[in-house]
């Protein structure tokens, strides 16, 4: 199968408008006869569910949590980008498009990214109308902050809980449709297979996680908004339940998986504290607006810090190495995430790490507290404020801006970040790769769509901060409602899809067989023990830096681990009851297959770009060295069962931006 991205003709800034003018529509009476299944109720899923139901489609929405409001979009902290130019700092749709393409290291599709930038402003309008309480200035208008990789202020925010507020907005819109009967919500349900009838996605097999019942659900289209797969690393900033299962089942049924090796390692997370660790916690990128990142310039100071003989405040200013400001003077602490993460790793690998494991750098607010304190004293006409007063005023400003993040840091580490610099280290955060989709967001299976983090389309090899929320809501509120009509217009005479078709029998039987296997297997090792081992392989060999030898080893190790898993895994409890261990077993089984594909993809891509850093390919200064001649393509993998997956290439054509060495110096 050749990949057809279905990008509309015409100039870049007219494509989406022309597309909307000519896309096929489904009239209101016919929408009432069409059912749409949506997996996941994060920003993409909830916004799609609400909007499609408003339009008149019958929606069935599924989430594994006890309420759709708990989807992991809720944990996004810093903000959402939009090209509003409210700050009058020269922002525009084109600049947002350009920053996103460049930030993604030229591995995203121009047309999709431009569409994203075009609808970004509508998202903010929609959310405000829903009652999302964004941060405001004293004049009552919306406030903005800066994020990494850009030189304008276009990020809208609600303290450190922007994702929560946006998700609760989408959840409220969905609730209105649940009340009206247009959305049927299935909480504590997990999709365990996709059902394909006559070449089209026509339903799912789902498990009721409370009763253990296996259910059949049919629809005219299936939308996967099931999020990313960062938990393949075991330790990540994802929620414990975040998983790849829905997307992976679709992959095994024919949906190509694109750029799986593009994972984002976020630079500002709380470092690992021990083997018991179950997850990692992000400290918002917004903290890099005001915080300064440093390590000691002298090796002996770093050693003293690691042994606890010195504290951060004992290191004088001249002995500190603000390495981001040193290496990247024009962007400083606000370089993109991949660059900031690698720079932290470089310093720590060189022996300048500041905690007992040697894997941490400082994020320091002392200068910001002074700066804000002086500004506040000036604003309040306190011209003779002493140092203590200025510090007090500064801390109050920092508390207002970042209070919840500082509290969280204090809870987890026991340190007070108002008094001493925070310690941070990169951690797995987001996955740019995902199911391959065309311009309509349809996968390579007819009628099966992927939205939000579950697809690959907009962020290339590195996502910019505050763009995930933008993409999730763009896909759900403003893209899929149009593009799905193009497909469903052919389904107006189909009528309800029966769940008696043999394709449902077959899929259900396979699901039941697998559950029975887990329940009957006489293994001795817990699911988590395998997940942790997989995570370690992935982090060490397919993490922040990769090389050919390591990736080849990883593939073999994962294959061996997978074999051991099927022999040795132990799942307690029963199948027909609430059994989280059983659910986890299925998810880890899928991660064990995905992990290998990620390594294969990383091995295939003989270049460094964005979050994918192959040690063999770097500039003399240690920056990522792209190979546009050979690798300016999307790597879309086809699943072939026992045989090795087959690579399909979608060439990326850049007509509106010039490919350059990405520089933030």
């Amino acid at each position: 199968m050749t990949l057809n991205s279905k990008i509309p003709n015409g100039p870049l800034d007219k494509k989406w408008t022309d597309y909307k003018d000519h896309v096929r529509l489904v009239n209101p009476a016919n929408k009432r006869n069409i059912d749409v299944i949506i997996i996941g109720t994060g920003l993409a899923g909830a916004s799609a569910a609400a909007t499609l139901a408003e339009m008149g489609y019958n929606v069935k929405a599924f989430c594994f949590q006890d309420s759709p409001r708990r989807a992991h979009s809720i944990a996004a902290q810093g903000g959402i980008n939009a090209a509003k130019n409210y700050k009058n700092d020269g922002d525009s749709t084109f600049r947002l498009f350009y920053d996103t393409i460049k930030g993604g290291d030229y591995r995203a599709r121009e047309a999709n990214v431009h569409r994203l930038a075009e609808v970004s402003a509508n998202i903010i309008d929609q959310c405000v109308a829903q009652g999302v309480p964004f941060a405001r200035e004293y004049g009552g208008l919306l406030d903005n902050r800066s994020f990494g990789g850009v030189q304008v202020q276009r990020t809208f925010y609600a303290a450190g809980q922007t994702g929560q507020q946006l998700l609760l907005g989408a959840y409220s819109a969905m609730n209105r449709q649940i009340a009206s009967g247009k959305v049927t919500m299935y909480n504590r349900h997990e999709m365990l297979d996709l059902v394909i009838v006559d070449g089209k996605a026509r339903g799912i097999i789902a498990k009721n996680l409370v009763s253990g019942e296996i259910e059949r659900h049919s629809g005219h289209a299936v939308l996967l908004a099931s999020g990313g797969y960062g938990n393949v690393f075991f330790l990540s900033t994802n929620a414990m339940g975040s998983n790849v299962t829905a997307a992976w089942k679709a992959h095994k049924k024919g949906a190509y998986f694109a750029n799986p090796c593009f994972t984002q390692i976020h630079p500002t997370c709380i470092p690992v504290s021990g083997d018991h660790q179950s997850k990692l916690t992000l400290m918002s990128e917004s903290l890099r607006n005001d915080g300064r990142i440093w390590v000691p310039a002298k090796m002996e100071d770093a050693e003293a810090l690691r042994q606890g003989a010195k504290k951060a405040i004992d290191i004088p200013e001249e002995d500190r190495d603000y390495y981001l400001e040193r290496r990247y003077p024009s962007f400083g602490n606000l370089v993109p995430r991949d660059v900031a993460s690698r720079a932290a790793k470089e310093r720590c690998d060189a022996g300048f790490g500041v905690n007992k494991t040697g894997e941490a750098v400082f994020l320091d607010y002392a200068a910001a507290i002074q700066r804000y304190g002086k500004a506040e004293a000036h604003r309040k006409n306190l011209h003779d404020a002493d140092a203590a007063k200025i510090t007090e005023l500064g801390k109050a400003v920092v508390k207002e801006k970042y209070g919840n993040l500082f509290d969280m840091y204090m809870q987890i580490t026991g340190d007070n970040p108002y008094e001493t610099p925070m310690k941070i280290y990169p951690a797995v955060h987001y996955t740019m790769g995902g199911l391959w989709v065309d311009y309509n967001l349809m996968t390579t299976i007819d009628g099966c769509y992927a939205l939000g983090e579950a697809n690959f389309s907009d962020h290339g090899a590195n996502r910019l901060g505050a763009s995930a929320l933008m993409q999730g809501l763009a896909d759900g509120y403003f893209v899929i409602p149009y593009t799905i009509g193009e497909y469903l217009a052919d389904d107006i005479r189909t009528g309800a899809i029966s769940t008696d078709h043999e394709a449902f029998d077959e899929a259900e039987n396979k699901v039941r067989e697998r559950i029975q296997f887990f329940m009957n297997n006489q293994g001795s090792k817990s699911v988590d023990s395998f997940h942790k081992r997989l995570g370690k392989i992935m982090w060490e060999k397919c993490g922040m830096a990769r090389n050919e030898q390591g990736l080849k080893e990883a593939i073999e190790e994962i294959q061996a681990l997978r074999e051991e898993f099927w022999k040795e895994v132990k799942v307690p409890g029963k199948a027909d009851e609430f059994n989280p261990e059983l659910d986890k077993a299925g998810r880890v089984a899928d991660f064990l297959e995905l992990g290998e594909l990620m390594c294969r993809d990383a091995l295939n891509r003989n270049e460094s770009c964005g979050g994918h850093f192959r040690e063999e390919y770097q500039t003399e200064e240690g920056e990522a060295l792209r190979n546009d001649k050979d690798y300016a393509y999307v790597a879309a993998w086809e699943y072939l069962g026992e045989s090795a997956p087959v690579l399909h290439k979608e060439e990326l054509n850049f007509e509106n931006v010039k490919l350059t060495q990405r520089s933030y110096k």
């Binding site: 916004s47 909007t51 408003e54 949590q65 006890d66 309420s67 409001r69 708990r70 992991h72 809720i74 944990a75 409210y86 309008d125 929609q126 959310c127 405000v128 109308a129 829903q130 009652g131 309480p133 964004f134 405001r136 200035e137 004049g139 009552g140 208008l141 303290a159 929560q164 959840y171 409220s172 609730n175 209105r176 649940i178 009340a179 919500m185 909480n187 409370v210 900033t237 414990m240 504290s273 021990g274 018991h276 179950s278 997850k279 916690t281 992000l282 969280m408 809870q411 987890i412 026991g414 509120y477 817990s526 988590d528 023990s529 132990k570 307690p572 009851e577 609430f578 989280p580 261990e581």
Partner: protein, 249 residues
């Protein structure tokens, strides 16, 4: 440190439950409370005992999925902290820790420490929204909102829907939860057109779900991990009375 856990075990909604005692050995200060339970569960699995079921997801204090009544307090001993953010440095060697599920008629137990909080969702279905279709919004800056109102609305909107307020209340009242949502919209211009209808519908559903009455004791706010202020309840009362007088329905 070594601890003794007394954990509520109940195989399903209809079964009878009881406390079981488990040892938690070699627990470090840096562990979160849920990581301590992970360790205990791994040991139970090894021994062939079914692990303790508990709800959790984000483990960073924002999704609202974790619960647990720890030593008689919702989300444990600290103020303004969810169970997943509670760390073992809050306990000391030799402590006995009693762990129970949320107890409320409106939150039936599913298994062990897991309860069904869908009543909260149904209250939101009744009116926890502003009726605006996608695409129908005007420019986001068209209506200025005074910063103070926006901040206050935000404070109310930070509720994570965990149910600690109900668990902490002697009457299992949901007034803090409902008050938070009603306050958020009542404070914003966008919330005005449906202001009366919303509060009446949400309170009606709250009562129908079997949540108890409010006596203004304040345990809900004191135990709320997001420190939602008690003032949302006074606003809810005002809004309810106002709507009762003004409603044209």
């Amino acid at each position: 440190m070594n601890l003794t856990l007394k954990v509520w075990r109940q195989s399903n909604a209809n079964a009878e439950g009881n406390f079981e005692t488990y040892d938690a050995k070699d627990i470090s200060d840096d562990m979160s409370f849920l990581e301590m339970l992970d360790v205990v569960n791994e040991q139970l699995i090894e021994k062939g005992i079914e692990p303790v079921a508990f709800d959790h997801d984000c483990r960073e204090g924002i999704c609202g999925m974790c619960s647990l009544f720890i030593n008689g307090r919702a989300h444990g001993p600290l103020h303004g902290v969810t169970t997943c953010q509670l760390h073992m440095r809050s306990f000391k060697d030799g402590d006995e820790i009693v762990i129970e599920p949320w107890r409320a008629n409106a939150f039936p137990i599913i298994k062990d420490l897991v309860v069904d909080r869908s009543a909260f969702d149904r209250i939101q279905h009744a009116g926890g929204y502003i009726s605006v279709n996608t695409g129908a919004a005007q420019d986001a800056n068209a209506i200025p909102v005074p910063k103070q109102n926006a901040d206050e609305a935000f404070e109310a909107a930070t509720c994570i829907g965990c149910g600690a307020c109900v668990a902490a209340c002697k009457n299992s009242s949901a007034m803090l939860f409902v008050g938070a949502k009603v306050s958020q919209y009542a404070l914003l211009p966008q919330g005005q057109p449906e202001r009366e209808k919303r509060v009446l519908a949400m309170v009606n559903e709250m009562d129908a779900e079997g949540f108890g009455a409010c006596t203004n004791t304040g345990a809900c706010s004191a135990e709320c991990p997001k420190e939602i202020p008690l003032s949302v309840i006074s606003r809810l009362n005002r809004e309810y009375i106002r709507a009762s007088l003004l409603s044209k329905d």
